[in-house]
């Protein structure tokens, strides 16, 4: 069985805080609460936050008594343009679950596992890591024209790449992308290529010309027989991803990861990126954040562990948690 595992890099956001010097009184509370020691109170008695050093966490905002700190958010689109970007390994645990699911199935029935990753050049490291885990071939679909693609445009990229690999029975992807959003582009590919589509996969077994899948369905499990070819998105807990060994790392050292651009996939720039998308990101804002409410009147219990445990049990009963 030939299996493609889809991994997708998601753009991060950039954020920094800016001080309105007209209203800042230079009290220095932002400097005190900043986890990264960024704000400085200058001789002019106003705070200064270096946009370069600011990590954009926004912790300082609710502490400012004069509401002089503003957060700026934007999509970080530099990943493709900066060549010095750090190599990125597999950052999201679910990606490893998807790879493992493919490897386990291949080990049972034979065939090949292709890693089909989409992202900037630094993302090649993720593909390499997947090769070390045991995947057979690695492909990085990489083009700055892909930036800003929504589900529809992403699905077109995936579809073309999947077809270029050719002769694959199964497409496996993580249920959620790195931003925690359901990875729905797989549904489009399945629809266009006439494949079965099953999200929320909890277990996966080969059968004759089908796969047997258990799907998490609102806390219940549905067991189903799924015709091939099929596209599946897997959940946490489907497996325990294997670790990386030095031996395996040495074995794949000479392997090359193929890079495919929009031209190699015959994609026109009107079909991908913002131009090919139905949905465009308009704005990013911070969540309203509190500075942490301390509680007065809480009690501190002391005593032996057993007595403390007993007291807590009583409280939990009182609160209706037991």
């Amino acid at each position: 069985m030939n299996i493609a595992v889809y991994l997708k890099f998601e753009e991060d956001y950039k954020a920094y805080a800016e001080v309105d010097v007209a209203t800042c009184v230079g009290c220095g509370v932002c400097a005190k609460v900043c986890p990264f020691n960024v704000p400085l109170v200058t001789k002019k008695e106003t705070a200064e936050i270096s946009p370069k050093r600011c990590q954009g966490c926004g912790v300082c905002v609710p502490y400012c008594k004069t509401n002089s700190i503003y957060m700026h958010y934007s999509l970080n689109t530099e990943a493709y343009s900066s060549d010095k970007g750090d190599p990125m390994g597999l950052r999201y645990p679910l990606d490893k679950n998807a790879i493992e699911a493919g490897l386990v199935l291949r080990d049972m029935v034979g065939g090949k596992v292709w890693i089909l990753a989409e992202g900037p050049p630094q993302f090649e490291e993720s593909v390499r890591e997947a090769l070390v885990m045991g995947a057979d071939e690695g492909i990085l679909v990489c083009d700055s024209k892909f930036l800003g693609s929504d589900h529809v445009a992403s699905s077109l990229i995936l579809e073309q790449a999947f077809k270029k690999i050719g002769d694959c029975d199964l497409l496996i992807a993580p249920q959620r992308n790195g931003h925690g959003e359901p990875l729905s582009s797989v549904a489009w590919v399945a629809e266009r290529l006439g494949m079965s589509y099953i999200p929320f996969v909890k277990s996966l077994k080969p059968a004759e010309e089908t796969v047997l899948v258990q799907q998490n369905w609102g806390g219940k499990l549905l067991e189903m027989s799924v015709s091939l070819p099929a596209a599946l998105t897997v959940e946490r807990g489907i497996n325990e991803p294997r670790g990386l060994s030095l031996m395996a790392a040495a074995r794949v050292m000479g392997k090359t990861v193929s890079h495919w651009s929009s031209e190699e996939l015959n994609l026109d720039s009107s079909q991908i990126g913002e131009a090919g998308s139905h949905i465009r990101l308009k704005s990013i804002q911070a969540l309203p954040r509190s500075k942490g409410k301390k509680r007065k009147g809480g009690d501190m219990l002391k005593g032996s562990p057993e007595v403390l445990a007993q007291t807590l049990v009583e409280r939990l009963k009182e609160w209706g948690a037991l």
């Binding site: 949905i279 990013i284 562990p305």
Partner: protein
């Protein structure tokens, strides 16, 4: 060109063991909000293999009309058959917006329907609004691991499809007024199904989501390792809760980053929060200080986290928690 108003909205409802699902009642509230704002007509749709009583409950909660699918094929192929029926309805009434609850069913059906109709899909929105400039529809959602509020503009392809994040809208209540329930079946042409349900198994013993759990057990550096977190998981299972953590356990590789609570992680508001071996920096407390009741377990009396406690236990968590687990088991046996 822009939408000439949002005149028709379809809400895709669902049922669970207890009847009409809570997420669907929340969806009705969302629908009624848009009806009030935009004067839209609200159609509710109940997919395959659902009970008549739930369609009646739906009819009493506020939509203008309820459609229920009715076909014996649906027991075996609910995923595919429901979408075929829904698409038939979407095309028949020419819907502008189709909303689903962001459950497994909603997420699955929304993706299938959007793919089949080649239209825009936004998952887990918390609101919809109209762009003040051009009147186009804008979806509001929590992006980047739920850390930021994002707004995204839908293009002009119709209908717009979105799933609505749970617990954003209050569930709609049933009234004495009721509307009609219409039956809708599969289109006549023969259908080919690729997925066949062979068995329905009982509930999986899964931990609830960190963000929706009513009890959260959180651990910090003081938990000491994976074994310590396994113990917290045992406790969470007994209380029907979920386990979260602070930054140090993530850095040490004991816990996944997605289980981190705090300003750069998840925000929790459980009924009971139990924090074990946590120092209490603002990066963590900003993600949990809205919890109804906070228990802090720590062996250092000067730990700042005690300031947040409704109830603080001064002692070693590795000694207290095993006792706690044992005592809770005793309690459960006596029930």
């Amino acid at each position: 060109m822009s939408f000439k108003g949002i005149s028709k909205i379809i809400l895709v409802a669902e049922e669970d063991a207890g009847g009409l699902a809570d997420i669907s009642r929340q969806l009705v509230t969302a629908g009624l909000k848009y009806k009030a704002e935009w004067g839209s007509h609200i159609f509710a749709f109940l997919p395959a293999d659902t009970k008549r009583s739930n369609a009646m409950a739906l009819a009493k909660s506020g939509p203008d009309v309820v459609y229920q699918t009715d076909n014996t094929l649906m027991k075996k192929h609910p995923h595919e058959a429901s979408v075929v029926c829904l698409i038939q309805l979407i095309e028949e009434i020419n819907a502008d917006v189709v909303l689903f609850g962001a459950s497994e069913l909603g997420t699955d059906m929304a993706a299938r329907a959007a793919a089949r109709l080649e239209t825009g899909l936004l998952q887990e929105i918390i609101d919809l609004e109209l762009d003040p400039e051009d009147g186009n529809l804008v979806g509001v959602f929590m992006g980047f691991q739920d850390q930021l509020i994002c707004k995204a503009k839908f293009g002009l392809s119709k209908p717009v499809i979105a799933t609505v994040k749970p617990k954003v809208f209050a569930p709609a209540t049933e009234t004495n007024d009721t509307v009609g329930v219409e039956k809708t079946g599969l289109p006549q042409e023969s259908q080919e199904f690729r997925i066949e349900i062979t068995q329905r198994l009982e509930p999986v013993d899964d931990m609830p989501d960190l963000e929706s759990a009513e009890v959260v057990i959180a651990g910090g550096q003081g938990v000491g390792g994976k074994e310590g977190f396994a113990m917290l998981e045992d406790l969470a299972r007994l209380l029907g809760g979920a386990v979260g953590c602070t930054l140090p356990p993530v850095e040490q590789g004991w816990m996944d980053r997605e289980l981190m609570i705090g300003s750069t992680g998840k925000t929790v508001r459980p009924k009971v929060y139990i924090g074990c071996g946590i120092h209490g920096d603002v990066y963590h407390t900003s993600g949990m200080d809205e919890s109804e009741r906070i228990v802090v377990i720590n062996d250092n009396e000067k730990t700042p986290f005690f300031d947040f406690a409704t109830c603080g236990l001064l002692g070693d968590l590795h000694e207290i928690i095993p006792h706690l687990i044992e005592k809770i088991r005793d309690e459960m046996r006596n029930l």
